[in-house]
Symmetry: C2
Subunit: 277 residues, 2 copies
């Protein structure tokens, strides 16, 4: 495990680490922000952030200003990559499949199965590593954007009791029903939609054992809203099962980091309240 | 004049515009953030931000989180490119000369003189355009980073009365005395250092007619500190002439946008106080 970047930031330390991931069978990178409290030796709770299509660990740590909020609330923030990487790792020329587009699933199909185990990576391997190697408690929150918003919802719903809070920006809420999701799930999990249900937030809500409240922000000027994101499906699924949902439709906002940055402070405060409570 | 990007951001609008710049003899882009107050129709003062080597208008608007602070204080923020661009514009393969490295001077030497008039662009052309086309007052502040910190100091010192406040992050304070500056000024202005003095903050301070207070933040872990930035020379020049200077050496901080973002809120508050006063 090797630290490859370190920058002072809001009194804390924004770092990037590289290590051999057993889950991915590849070298993996992640960003970690250590707030001032952690540098003073306090053990801090951890917010995991899952990024969207085409991203690496860099996008969120350079564009969202999460460090200001994490410093204020005393949270560690961990930002994984969005897929396995490397010469030996299967890929596809499209931006929405393969490297940069892992969809936070454990793939079962060739050629993806050997390395594309992003769910194990983000839900098991990284928390174990972070809690062993950084001044972190086992109190965890998870959030993300777009494909990573899907990742956050699915990861929390699949692991009752593991996360104290979950939120998402512009999430793909029903990958089984939209083009991005159907393409990726068919490739990684095979053509039978029965195998997709355990990776689809709207499907998982039908049998959720834990009523973890969902906080979702969605820009109304988001170019992917009607075709890929479909917050109406999440709203209907939560209404049908009585799952607590705060869905905020933000007029004028698009799919970009300008949207994320505008509301990230409120999400971090939401997670901090749950993690400190 | 054409708007090529528009994103809702902190209740305001982050935009990028393209226009034919007479000063540069080329198509120029700039970022402009319109805070909520401007969208409501209020005329707002303007903070100009000058970026460093290799940057375009994008770096600052995507990485610094300036929009949060500008929204709070009701400031318009204008972020120009760092040089003329285009196929007909002279360039150099090095990162520190030519496109991306205009140094905010008006060049006099071939092949640079026809297009490299960044000082006219940022100090004359853009303020005239912004004050005519956006809900802006003629109250102006200027700040920047590294090469752009040099640009901010020099632009304010060359134009007494034009700016209400000036600040800089990690500025090149004495380009005549350091490698980046000597290379660029020799290329753009010719080999005689006598021609460089009017583009060198430490030299300009010797004859400054206006005692505009300087606010400068400098990271102590900045890799360019001793070779290129030399805040000690600024400190000595201000001490010699009684020019008001607040120079803050920030332990542990490097030359990156993580540093800028950490202290930008304080700079924007400083400018807002001067602009609103």
């Amino acid at each position: 495990m090797e630290r490859i970047e370190q920058h002072a930031s809001f009194g804390g330390s924004q770092e990037v680490w590289r290590f051999h991931s057993d889950a991915l069978g590849a070298t993996a990178r992640f960003g970690v922000y250590l707030p001032p409290a952690a540098l003073r030796g306090d053990r801090c709770p951890v917010l995991y952030w899952l990024s969207g299509l085409t991203c690496t660990e860099q996008n969120f740590i350079t564009k969202a200003n999460v460090q200001a909020h994490a410093a204020q609330h005393g949270l560690i923030v961990v930002a994984p990559d969005t897929s396995p990487r490397g010469d030996g790792v299967a890929d596809d020329p499209a931006y929405d499949l393969g490297q940069g587009a892992g969809f936070y699933v454990n793939a079962t199909q060739a050629p993806w199965a050997p390395h594309y185990r992003m769910q194990d990576h983000v839900a098991e391997e990284l928390p174990a590593l972070v809690e062993a190697r950084f001044p972190a408690t086992d109190r965890r929150a998870v959030s993300g954007h777009s494909m990573g918003g899907h990742g956050a919802l699915v990861t929390a719903l699949r692991h009752p009791g593991r996360y104290r809070s979950v939120s998402a920006f512009s999430p793909i809420v029903a990958p089984s029903q939209v083009p991005w999701g159907r393409k990726a799930l068919a490739a990684y999990l095979g053509p039978d939609p029965a195998a997709w249900a355990e990776w689809d937030a709207v499907e998982l809500l039908k049998t959720a054992r834990e009523r973890l409240p969902l906080l979702v922000d969605q820009g109304e000027a988001d170019e992917f809203l009607a075709r890929e994101l479909r917050p109406d499906l999440l709203e209907a699924a939560c209404a049908a099962t009585g799952h607590p949902l705060t869905l905020r439709r933000q007029p004028g906002y698009d799919h970009s980091y300008y949207f994320i940055a505008s509301f990230l402070g409120e999400h971090v405060a939401h997670h901090a309240a749950a993690l400190r409570g």
